[in-house]
Symmetry: C2
Subunit: 250 residues, 2 copies
Amino acid sequence: MNQAIRLHQVASQLKATCNKCSLSNLCLPLAVEENDLERLEDIVLQGKIFNRGEHIFDQSTPFKSCFAVRSGSVKTSIITEGGDEQVTGFFMPGELIGLDSMATDNYACTAKVLERTSVCEFPVDKLEQLTRMLPELQHHMYHLMSQEIQNSHQLAMLLSKNTAEERIAALLLSLSSRFQRRRMSPTNFSLPMARNDIANFLGLAVETVSRVFTRFQNQGIIKARGREVELLDVEALQLVTCDFARQGCR
Amino acid sequence: MNQAIRLHQVASQLKATCNKCSLSNLCLPLAVEENDLERLEDIVLQGKIFNRGEHIFDQSTPFKSCFAVRSGSVKTSIITEGGDEQVTGFFMPGELIGLDSMATDNYACTAKVLERTSVCEFPVDKLEQLTRMLPELQHHMYHLMSQEIQNSHQLAMLLSKNTAEERIAALLLSLSSRFQRRRMSPTNFSLPMARNDIANFLGLAVETVSRVFTRFQNQGIIKARGREVELLDVEALQLVTCDFARQGCR
DNA sequence: ACTTGTATTAGATATAGATCAATTTTGACA
DNA sequence: TGTCAAAATTGATCTATATCTAATACAAGT
């Protein structure tokens, strides 16, 4: 087989699969009309694979692209000059990474892959051009970025107002609903991240995270063996997060 | 004077002053070419005035517009079902409010005016249309929203990793640089918000905020009488925030 | 299977900052 | 100018969670 043919095969593999992607109802294609889809497919670089621990991009390297998670999971974090890490988010299939970097020349955070992960790359210059031509896509971008702001406010709220138990319950419920969106079990999943990352994300010590997990387990709210988690009593978890309910219980 | 003439006067007062606005180098006009400016001016509703304590918009009312602060200052906050408030930001002249609401049908927070304040209103439907025609404006919107995400991450970081002193030093420095942007004194200003709001924003008790203020004062880093603040030693404040430096000092 | 490093769990202690209680200051309005 | 409510400060305790230490479980590579 000559090289030209092989290249052609590779090219057609890479191209034009947004419409076949099982995540199209979560990801950017969601906002694009059937017949405009190929324009999005034209700019996307699909199917980049990273192995556990590899970086999709690094803080302070030139910002070029946003990335959609196809499979696997990603952790983003900011590293301070002092070497402190602050985990800013966990990203699951269908979610878009890099929106926090569009204000700066360099990436504003580092994106590290938590397990073998496949992503689609959207070069921002092209994406920005495309959003000018596809109003729905532009609207969707505003939507996603706004959502990201809200998420972050929600996190700030959790960090400043809630106890360790409340924070962890909230995280478990967030993960749960995100698994559900992907039509996976909302009560039976395996955490993509280590206790350490959870602790960092939620502003707690690892030990505290561990203790809360065992406490929840003793109360029969969850069952956890390592990263394998089963939510036995979702209502109880919701009660833990909801301070309104808590007030009522006093 | 007949009514037609009076209306005309009002209309021309309202219209076409973005190019004369002293904040045009901070606000949306910044991104717009001289000759496109009137299109921005066409959609903006200028000079709405609110008195201290009034709401520009309320959480859970239909989202319609973003607002740029012209003069005065604004506090945004989220109220939980339990009645808890979380202050999500303080906004000064030239800054844009409402970017966190573009993902939802209703406003995601409540915007309360901290003093007599004038704002410009940008109806989002028109703004979104306009950004399609003015690439620079679209780019600027992405920029602003991304910045907002970063700010919020920064806040989350502050809340989860920093001490009371560090948080307050960071806030003072942030305010300082924002006053400076507006060519006002970076060392001598009056806080637009109450201690209560500072405490809420930074995830502290009011008492703690008060104590840190007096501690800083005793150390000769600042001088504070009520809301009037003078930064006597900006370097010292920077040292407080920078954990790198702190490590070195141990 | 065995080693070695890493992640998780567990117990004991320390502490920053919350909470409670009281006082002083400020500012708005009659 | 005096009155009153809200805001700010100060002091005394209390507590959730960090920190320190150590034990145990787990995973990867030889």
